[in-house]
Symmetry: C2
Subunit: 459 residues, 2 copies
C-alpha cells in the first residue's frame, strides 16, 4: 500500500515524496510530542496536487496527516505509524493582499509572521499572534484556531477567517465562505473547519480579514507584591471601558525564571506581573494608559511605562522568554492551556497552589489573564519516574479544577493526541457523538488525521 | 398523529397547546411570508419541556418549527402544513448578568432590546442590533446569526455567543461551548448551531459575551451629490485607521422616500447619504469624528454633526424609517440583503441601476456600506402580475450580479423559505451535500424545521 503510494505519487511529484528515514524523522514530532515516524512525506504545491494525493489515499485507505510547520502543542500534526504526512509547507504563497477590501488570500503554508510583516509595510494589521508566530503557518493557525496575547481585544484566528478552500479526504474540493465580511447562506462550514485540527479536510486556501494598523501603542509593566492584587487589577481594567490589546500575566515562578535567564531587570520581589498594552489613536492611547496606571497604582503596583520601541521590545522579550526560561527549573515542561471565566482566575490560581503542594511539584503560571486563559506549566523530569507520575496526576487535577470553575481544558492548543484522553471530562457523550457523526460526513473512511481529538475507547 | 400530540402534550402542558384557528393564524407568518398555518402551537417554558416535546415529536415523526418572535425576513420560522410550531416566547428569562465575567446567560425568548436595556443600566453593551431589535428574540438572533448596523465594528451575533444549550430533535440535551472567552475542545458546535435557522437543534439557553459601554459616541450625517463620491468616502474612511461603529448608506430613492414620509430634514438634493457613528473615549471620538468630517468634506459632502441625544435620535429615526417609508412608493417590497466585498460596492450599485432600467422597476438601496451589506428593495405590487414577474426576474439578476462580484445572496437574513431556490447559485454541490450530511447527523428523521435552507429538488 505504502509502496504503491511512493511509486505512484513519487512519479507524479518527482523529488517531493520523502521516504528516507532521516527525512521522515523531521516530520515525526511537534512542539509537544513524538509518536512515530510516517511511512512517507509528500509535499504538494497546489490544490490540484492535494486533491490527487487525497483521492489516491482515499482509494487505498492510506491515512494522511496534514502538517504545517509542526509547531503545535498537542500533537495535532504528529504522525502515527503507517501514515503519510501531507506537508503544506510548499504552498506558501501570499496570493493577494487586497487593500480595497481589507482581506488577504493566502496558501496554508504561509508563515503567520510573513503575512504580518507584509501587511505592516502597508500600515495594515493581522492581529492573531500565537507565541510561535515567527515559525507557525496560517494553515496550522486555522486548523487549531490559534490565539495569542492580542486575543483579548482582537479575538482569535476564527474571527479573521472569512472563507476557505479545502480538499475533502476523497479529493473533492470544497469552498466555504468567501470574500465578504458577512454571509449566512447554509451552515457555517468555514467555522466548522476552523479548529477541526486537520481531521475534516485539508485546507488549501484561506481568505483572511485584516485591519488598519492602530496609530499608536503603549506598553506598561505592572509589578504587584501579591497575586490577588494583580487579579483584582485585571477585573478593574476589563470592567472599565478600556479594552487593552494585551493583558498578560506572569506569576512569581515565571518572573524569577525569566529574570535569572535573561537578566532583563524584572522586579525580583514581585508576587505577579501584568504586561499590558493598549492601542488606538494617540489621544486614546495616552488616556487609556494613564487610567490603567492609576488602577494598578491604587492596588499597590509599581508601574513602569515603556516609552520607546526598544523598551517595549525588552518587555515583550521578557514575556516571550518565559517558556525557554522555565526549562532552567526542570528539564520537562508539561504545558496546559486551561481557560476559566475571567473573574474566576483567583480561584483557579488558588487551586493550582493546592495542587502544587499536594504533589510537591513546581507549577509556573503565565498567560492571557485578560481572557482567563492561563498557561499552566508543571516543571518536572520525564526520567524521574515517581515525579513524572505525580505530574501526570496533577494534570488531571488541574483539568478537574478548571472544569469545576466552568472552564475548559484548552483555550488555544487544541486536543490532538495529548489531550484526547481528557476530552470526555469536558464534553458530554451527546456532543462527542455529534462530532463523530460530523467527522463521518467529511471523512467516511477515517483516513484524515485518524485517532486524534476523540478518546481512544470510542475509536 | 396531531390529535395525539394535542391530547398528550395538551395534558402535559395545560393551556399551552394552542389549536384554535385564530390562534394558529398568529403563528403562520414572519416578516417575509406566509406559507400555511400549523396544526398546533406549543409553548414550553423550560428545557425539560422542550426535551419532552421533541422526544414525542421524534417518536411520532411530527415536524417541529422552532419560533421566536417571528420577525425573520426569509421564512425561517414560518410553518408548513401539518407541522407544530414550538414557540419559545415563554422562555424569556435573563438568567444571569455576570459582570465579573462579562457574560449574560439568557433563555432564547428574551427580546434583544430587553437585554440591551438591562445592560445599559449597568454601563454595559451588547452590540448586535438588528433592525427588529425591539421585538426580535435572542434565540432567533442566534438561529439566524443576526447582524445590524454596528456589525462593521462589533461583528454579528456569532461573535457574541460563547456557548449554547440546545435540544436535539430526539429530545436529548446538548451543551456547546460555555462561559469562557476561548475554547478549542472538539468541533465548534456552538458556531455550527449559530445561523443554522432552527434546522439542527432547538436553542434553549445562550451564553452571550458583552462589552463595557463606550464612553461616548458621535453621529455624522454626510450628504453627497453623487453616489460614487459616497462610495469613495466609505473606502477612504475604512482604510484609514478609523473603524466607525456604523457606516450606513442610503441612496437617493431611500432618502426621498424617508423625507416625504417623516419630514425630518434630510437633504432632498443628495445623491446619497452616509450615516456614520464613531464611539470610544472622549478624546478618540472627537478625533475620529473630525477626521471623518474632513474626508467627506474633501469629497464634496455636506456634513452635519448631531451634537445632542435628540439630534442623534432624529438621524437614526430617519435611517430606521427607510423600510416603512418605501411602502409609500409601491405596496410590495422585495427586500434582499446581498453582500459584496466592500470595494466592489460601486460596481454593485451600477449593476443595480442597470437591472432597475432593464425591468423598469424602482429599486431603492440602503444598508451597511461599511461591510458591503446592501439592502436592495425592489418596490412593486404583488397584484400587478406583469410587474411582479419582472420583479422576480430582477431578484435572480441581482443575486447573479452579487455572486459575480464575489459576494453572497444573504448577509443577515438567512435562507429559510424565500431564498432556498437560489442557494445553489452560491453554494457548490459538494458544500450542499456536506450540509445535508450534517443535517442528517443532528436530525436523522428530518422533523426539525423541514424543507428550509436547501433547494427543494434535493429534499
Amino acid at each position: 500500500m505504502f509502496g504503491l503510494f511512493r511509486k505512484k505519487i513519487g512519479d507524479m511529484l518527482p523529488g517531493r515524496v520523502l521516504t528516507e528515514r532521516e527525512d521522515l524523522f523531521c516530520y515525526g514530532f511537534d512542539a509537544s510530542s513524538t509518536e512515530d515516524i510516517p511511512s512517507a512525506v509528500v509535499m504538494p504545491v497546489n490544490t490540484q496536487e492535494v486533491s490527487e494525493i487525497a483521492a489516491f489515499a482515499f482509494n487505498h485507505r492510506i491515512p494522511l496527516i496534514p502538517r504545517g510547520a509542526g509547531t503545535g502543542m498537542t500533537g495535532g500534526a504528529v504522525p502515527l505509524r503507517d501514515t503519510v504526512v501531507l506537508s503544506l509547507e510548499g504552498m506558501n504563497r501570499i496570493i493577494d493582499i487586497d487593500e480595497k477590501n481589507m482581506l488577504a488570500v493566502v496558501e496554508p503554508g504561509v508563515i503567520n509572521y510573513h503575512l504580518q510583516e507584509k501587511l505592516e509595510e502597508k500600515g495594515l494589521f493581522y492581529p492573531p499572534d500565537p507565541a510561535s508566530m515567527k515559525f507557525c503557518t496560517l494553515g496550522g493557525n486555522v486548523a487549531e484556531n490559534a490565539g495569542g496575547p492580542r486575543a483579548i481585544k482582537y479575538g482569535v484566528t476564527r474571527d479573521y477567517v472569512l472563507g476557505l478552500e479545502a480538499v475533502l479526504p476523497d479529493g473533492r474540493v470544497v469552498p466555504a465562505g468567501g470574500k465578504t465580511y458577512k454571509g449566512v447562506v447554509g451552515y457555517d462550514l468555514t467555522r466548522l473547519l476552523v479548529g477541526s485540527e486537520g481531521t475534516l479536510a485539508i485546507i488549501t486556501k484561506i481568505f483572511l480579514k485584516f485591519l488598519p494598523m492602530p496609530a499608536e501603542t503603549a506598553t506598561l509593566l505592572c509589578a504587584f507584591s501579591e497575586i490577588d492584587a494583580a487579579a483584582q487589577a485585571v477585573n478593574r481594567i476589563t470592567s472599565s471601558a478600556i479594552i487593552p490589546r494585551t493583558l498578560e500575566f506572569m506569576d512569581r515562578e515565571s518572573t524569577l525564571a525569566v529574570e535569572n535567564y535573561s537578566h532583563c531587570g524584572l522586579p525580583l520581589d514581585a508576587g505577579a506581573l501584568l504586561l499590558i498594552e493598549v492601542d488606538g489613536s494617540h489621544a486614546a492611547v495616552s488616556d487609556d494608559a494613564d487610567r490603567i496606571a492609576s488602577i494598578c497604582t491604587a492596588l499597590g503596583a509599581h508601574v513602569r511605562v515603556a516609552d520607546d520601541i526598544y523598551s517595549k521590545q525588552q518587555l515583550w522579550d521578557a514575556r516571550r522568554a518565559v517558556s525557554p526560561a522555565l526549562y532552567r527549573i526542570r528539564p520537562t515542561k508539561i504545558n496546559e492551556d486551561i481557560v476559566v471565566p475571567r473573574g474566576r482566575i483567583p480561584e483557579m490560581l488558588r487551586a493550582l497552589r493546592a495542587i502544587s503542594e499536594r504533589y510537591n511539584l513546581t507549577i509556573a503560571s503565565f498567560g492571557h489573564a485578560g481572557d482567563g486563559n492561563i498557561h499552566v506549566n508543571i516543571m518536572t523530569d520525564r526520567n524521574d519516574k515517581d515525579e513524572y507520575r505525580r505530574a501526570r496526576r496533577a494534570v488531571r487535577d488541574i483539568f478537574e479544577a478548571a472544569i469545576s470553575l466552568e472552564g475548559t481544558i484548552s483555550g488555544e492548543h487544541g486536543v490532538g493526541l495529548t489531550k484526547k484522553e481528557y476530552v470526555d471530562m469536558e464534553l458530554s457523550d451527546v456532543s462527542i457523538e455529534l462530532m463523530k457523526g460530523i467527522k463521518n460526513v467529511f471523512d467516511p473512511r477515517g483516513i484524515l488525521n485518524p485517532r486524534k481529538m476523540f478518546p481512544d475507547s470510542g475509536d
